[in-house]
Amino acid sequence: MGPISSLPGFPAWLDLLFAFVIGTGFGFALEQAGFSSCRKLTGMFYGYDTTVIKVFFTAAIVALVGSQFLAYFGLLDLSLVFVNEYYINAALIGGVIMGAGFILGGYCPGTGLSALSIGKIDALFYALGGLTGAFLFAETYPAIVGIANAASRGPVRINEILGLSPGVFTFLLIGAAVCMFWIAEIAERKFARPEITREL
């Protein structure tokens, strides 16, 4: 029963091998989706290319539905799968800083690495900026640790807050995603920029 790495006596080196294989699949999928192109990514915010929302929500739903089926058939213990903790202030402030970084740089960290791997020079500068950002965080950590740890809610799940079962919430999320995909397809026609999309 999964997660495999939680099985008794599981060797640590094999989990690191899993890490490399998973990373390789991740990088491959990002690049195939076109996430190695900053102008394709930023198209999401100007409407001419909405690949981001389509890939992002499709992926989240596949993993969400897949993991619940695995759990249902007794193949995966979801209580052993990491659930991100919710720190209200850190999530909001950090999220806004990330939003600014997205528009300034044109990538998020994963897509920046994907772009770097195929030779984008701008992604190299983005990655160097990323290393600098992590360094600045480490050096300013004593000053910012208060904000980072404030208003902690623990690993709370969204369906619990709403009083719904995971299955019902998943159905609602799929419905919301279908509506967003429909709007995204309309937006791509309305805000079309053929002179940009032709080059991508």
Partner: protein
């Protein structure tokens, strides 16, 4: 020959299956900024052992003689580079170039890319994850924090996109 990108919904299914595999094999989600952090921790440890051991932030990564790069997150990050390279190779997209709007100079693009990298990874350290680790992987395990981080990133990005429109279109 350069090939077109994959259909976004098909690529989304592929990405979702990789995320599901990460949950099944390692009980984790996908991540990117975490690996960048470990690279910095390792670099600082090599450059100044004294600084690393005295800092509350760095010292925890070197306890019991641990090697920061011998962790799940940095190794997964090196995998991202390998996977992206393989994809670029099979689809004929390996090429050194600067991608930017024709309306801005290359220097401007590179400076903004550097600043963007600083902001994104700084924010990701604060929020304990980026678009991959917090937003995507968080949503897949129904984490409330994941949904809030996703909304904060994309919501504010629309505002910044309006302000910085000239850099992109």
């Amino acid at each position: 020959m350069k090939r077109n990108y994959m259909n976004p919904y098909v690529a989304g299914v592929m990405l979702g299956l990789v995320l599901l595999l990460a949950m099944y094999l390692s009980g984790r989600g996908l991540a990117a900024s975490g690996g960048i952090k470990y690279c910095v921790v390792s670099l600082v440890g090599n450059l100044s052992e004294k600084h690393a051991s005295q800092s509350v932030y760095y010292s925890k990564y070197f306890e019991d003689g641990q090697k920061p790069l011998k962790n799940w997150l940095p190794i997964e990050m090196f995998g991202i580079l390998a996977g992206g390279f393989i994809s670029g190779a099979v689809s004929g997209r390996l090429k050194f170039r600067i991608e930017k709007s024709p309306k801005i100079s290359s220097t401007r693009r590179l400076v903004l890319a550097f600043l963007g990298g600083i902001c994104f990874v700084y924010g990701a350290q604060l929020a304990r994850g980026c678009t991959s680790g917090a937003a995507l992987s968080g949503m897949a395990v129904l984490s409330l924090g994941g949904f809030v981080t996703m909304a904060a990133i994309f919501g504010s990005a629309y505002l910044f996109a309006f302000i910085f429109k000239r850099n992109w279109i």
